[in-house]
Assembly symmetry: C2
Homo-oligomer: 382 residues x 2
Amino acid sequence: MLDNLDKFTRLKRGTAGAINIDPLQRGGILTPEAREAIVEWADGYSVCDFCTGALDEIQNPPIREFVHQALPEFLDVDEVRITHGAREGMFAAMHSLCKRGETVVADGNVHYTTLLAAELSGLKVELVPASEKPHYRVDPEGYGEAIERAKNRGEKVGMAVLTYPDGNYGNLVDAEAVSEICHREEIPLMLNGAYSVGRMPISAKRLGADVIVGSGHKSMASSGPIGVLGASEELASLIFRRSKLVPNKEIEMLGCTLRGAGVLTMMASFPAVVERTKRWDEEVEKARWFAEEMERLGMSLQGDRPHHHDLMFFNSEVLYEISQTAKKGRYFLYRELKKRKIFGIKPGLTRRFKLSTYLLPREDLETVLSAFEEIVALHPKA
Amino acid sequence: MLDNLDKFTRLKRGTAGAINIDPLQRGGILTPEAREAIVEWADGYSVCDFCTGALDEIQNPPIREFVHQALPEFLDVDEVRITHGAREGMFAAMHSLCKRGETVVADGNVHYTTLLAAELSGLKVELVPASEKPHYRVDPEGYGEAIERAKNRGEKVGMAVLTYPDGNYGNLVDAEAVSEICHREEIPLMLNGAYSVGRMPISAKRLGADVIVGSGHKSMASSGPIGVLGASEELASLIFRRSKLVPNKEIEMLGCTLRGAGVLTMMASFPAVVERTKRWDEEVEKARWFAEEMERLGMSLQGDRPHHHDLMFFNSEVLYEISQTAKKGRYFLYRELKKRKIFGIKPGLTRRFKLSTYLLPREDLETVLSAFEEIVALHPKA
């Protein structure tokens, strides 16, 4: 019993030296500074040596200044807390701002975790449908219609959520327009910025977001799970309210959240993250170039055109046709890419897949493009 | 704006080479294997390279085997999931097993996070009072009385919680007796094993626990935040139920929890953690010896006598008297210990403090004892 446990130790990630084009992975790669931090702060509850009662009040290390000054300025929002991730931030906001039985209106390209957060909070969800392929666009006006539909059913809409951008197509909806519609109905708008906060310049106030969540492991070069949750002063007083039973603790945070090394990796990466958001235009330009090259090979970019984000979804009839007769069937693409040390497209996908070019040097993207070109050239079509 | 951010990088923990007797820190120190793991898996969402839909189903790295075989065997419980920590596990269990408005009965030495988890779940709390100093004992029979009090008020008791041991005195209540009383009333019992799981041998079944939570950062040599949540088959089907909106995801987990390096540190430490629980008797013996020596110096051990845990609470009139005239007042003890590279007693405490001897070699404990002896000898009493 409980023997042969060595299999749980000395595990290697197995993607060392590879090019990883998984959108989930591109923005979470640690900076050298974060890598130092995680070694220094690796033990258990390391950040709590000098605890003064709450995570966000710890002065040594300077978590207080990071949470109460640096992050609010970075997100352009009144109050911020560290969470376990974007999903946990969404849950805290929904759970505190909405009453059970109310409805959340969200975009049709919504991440599944928004649905889970709503369901766990006892809320209904009304979606704003996205348009058909190839654009999958969400029209801001659709929010007005979705709110109307819910109201016509006698439901109270407690919150609207916009996934900014969504995690499938990398589409960026006009958040200001959505905000205007929601605010006209006195409904707070939450932005899910899991793929934007830490990648592109974001101002919650300018975008009209009352609440914003971000993901440290997805887009802030942090060791997961970790995220940020920002809110306007008014809503922050509700979300970050104190417990009645334990008056010095914030109840939605269950007291403290990131009581370990993750928060130190986010802090250590923060200067580099601030800098990289200033070079966002270059990332968009690179993504557009990559998409053009992919289209030359017979793939077809879905979503916004021109595209405004590094997360891109491609349809590929040519790879699908190859898979019909290829030796490994639909797994051929994964294996061919793996052979060339390229990871990140899920095993079995050929016809529809997403990828990201974020922070990859052009040489690496040339390698990826050559790989696709070779794979198409080497295989007979069905 | 957002300049001078270098203060968030290259931060040192500042306790290197020190003896840390903070109970919060003793069980969370990483093993060498976990230290390797955190470096290898540091990036963002590292464990999700080969995701098959859910964290606990990931086969590479072998999280599935760890969660579905190793941990259930270790805890002697039917089903286990990884959580962000003990508190998050308690919330998931209460939120799923109790209805809003119901009552949770808990021991009077309960950790504050149990109260937060109950409050966030919309539950009332009825405490089983602990006895007066110096023992602070919780009588299992008190559970029956607390259940009765709640029932007499017309409340439904949805769950009982026992903190095993509590985080102040390190007292271990007879869990089997508590379980018997709760089960007679058909009330499930949850054990908060934040200070036991990973330190001492624990069998949820033998202790009569229907649900059990543990803390990776407190007691399983893991990088926090991370914990475990175990449950009997019957209750697991409720706690780990699937979402209605996203049918392949577990709703209370918001899909996935520990999507980062923390889980790999828990896995890497696991063989050593299993081994160390087998040497628990030595730890108890060492704690008893240390307490005896402290009492020789005029401190007084609170809680269970004989003591059954490394977490110990001391009253110290002698240090309190010194603080009345010492140069730094009540901060003198912290400063004197710090001078001797001993950390873990909170700044300002002299009369009542807790500490832990867990996994500290006798030499280090001799150093701690000599420090106390010196400090007492060097200072005039008031």
